[in-house]
């Protein structure tokens, strides 16, 4: 941003998500600059999907991403620290289930 609050003469930033194969979840690949959505898709294709890395691409305006901040980390993530029982590995598998394997 310049002093008077106007945006610099630069294309907006887009976050790129690529899907490695059908059915797989989209993964964050990186970002590109582009004037609009169609060009963002093309730029994403040229930057992140030119070597068979993807079967589908999403682009999202970066300023539309809502993110937690480092300040949130305590409240958001620490409470999970002492609760190993939330992981499936915490539970032992009953013998009868084991037998069936």
């Amino acid at each position: 941003m310049s002093e008077n609050g106007e945006k610099l003469n630069e294309w907006p930033l887009w976050e790129v998500f690529t899907q490695p194969k059908t059915g797989a979840p989209h993964e964050h690949a990186g970002s590109v600059h582009a004037p609009d959505a169609e060009i963002a898709l093309q730029n994403a294709r040229d930057t992140y999907a030119r070597r068979n890395e993807a079967v589908n691409i999403w682009v999202v305006p970066s300023d539309q991403i809502v993110s937690t901040t480092p300040d949130d980390s305590g409240a958001f993530f620490d409470p999970a620290d002492t609760k190993p029982y939330r992981h499936p590995q915490f539970y032992s598998v009953p013998r009868s289930v084991k037998k069936r394997k």
Partner: protein, 263 residues
Amino acid sequence: MSTLETKPATKQEVLHEYILRLADDRLILGQRLSEWTGFGPELEEDLAMANIALDMIGHASSLYEYAAELSGEEDRDDDYYAYFRDDTDFKNLKICELPIGDFGFTIARQFLFSSFSYFLYEQLKDSEDEQFAGIIKKHLKEIKYHLRHSREWVLRLGDGTEESHQKIQTAFDDIWMYTGELFDMDDVDKMAVKHGIGADSSGFHNDWKELVVNTMEEATLKVPDFNQYMQEGGRRGFHTEYLGHLLAQMQFLRRSYPDGEWK
């Protein structure tokens, strides 16, 4: 061999000449596009143009390899055609060798050429020569992308700012006289059609015009006159002054160190 005088006679010679023309178009325009590498208006656009340049040089390379096979000369390969022929041996269309100009010029030229390639390849994919048709089918997907990329940019530059509109309009006006050559049908073309290996470009001339006119109108651009004076001669080895300089840069290293290898 000076290809200015020799005329292909057999089916194999016709196919050889026909394929060389396609390959020369792609090598020369690919080389031109590669000049943007490091100078693109944005990093992403720089990458896109380098990608398209690489695609086109790749297309040329596989066509040259097939031409080498058809030539019957044992010591020929793709490098022979790219590096060891002179300007009069090159049969590319003049539109391919024009300097890159500004971004608008590059986009306008790419749009006119890629749209032509798209319609041409749609015909050639049914060529009776199976190996040739196979190469064409493989390249067609990439050509569709080149067309999409350049078309989207024509729309944005034409219907963009006053400056971008004026620049790309000037580009179309300047390039226009090089578009007639795309549809010239000479003896080689006619013989290739007769042998079932080539395409009659008059068959898709109107489709091409329609796409160009629709795109330019959507981009709020004025379509120049299709019946104006048109350049020709590229297919016979007569070129603009720009080709020699391009070849000098492209061929210098290979000719200076003919047996050089990457180590």
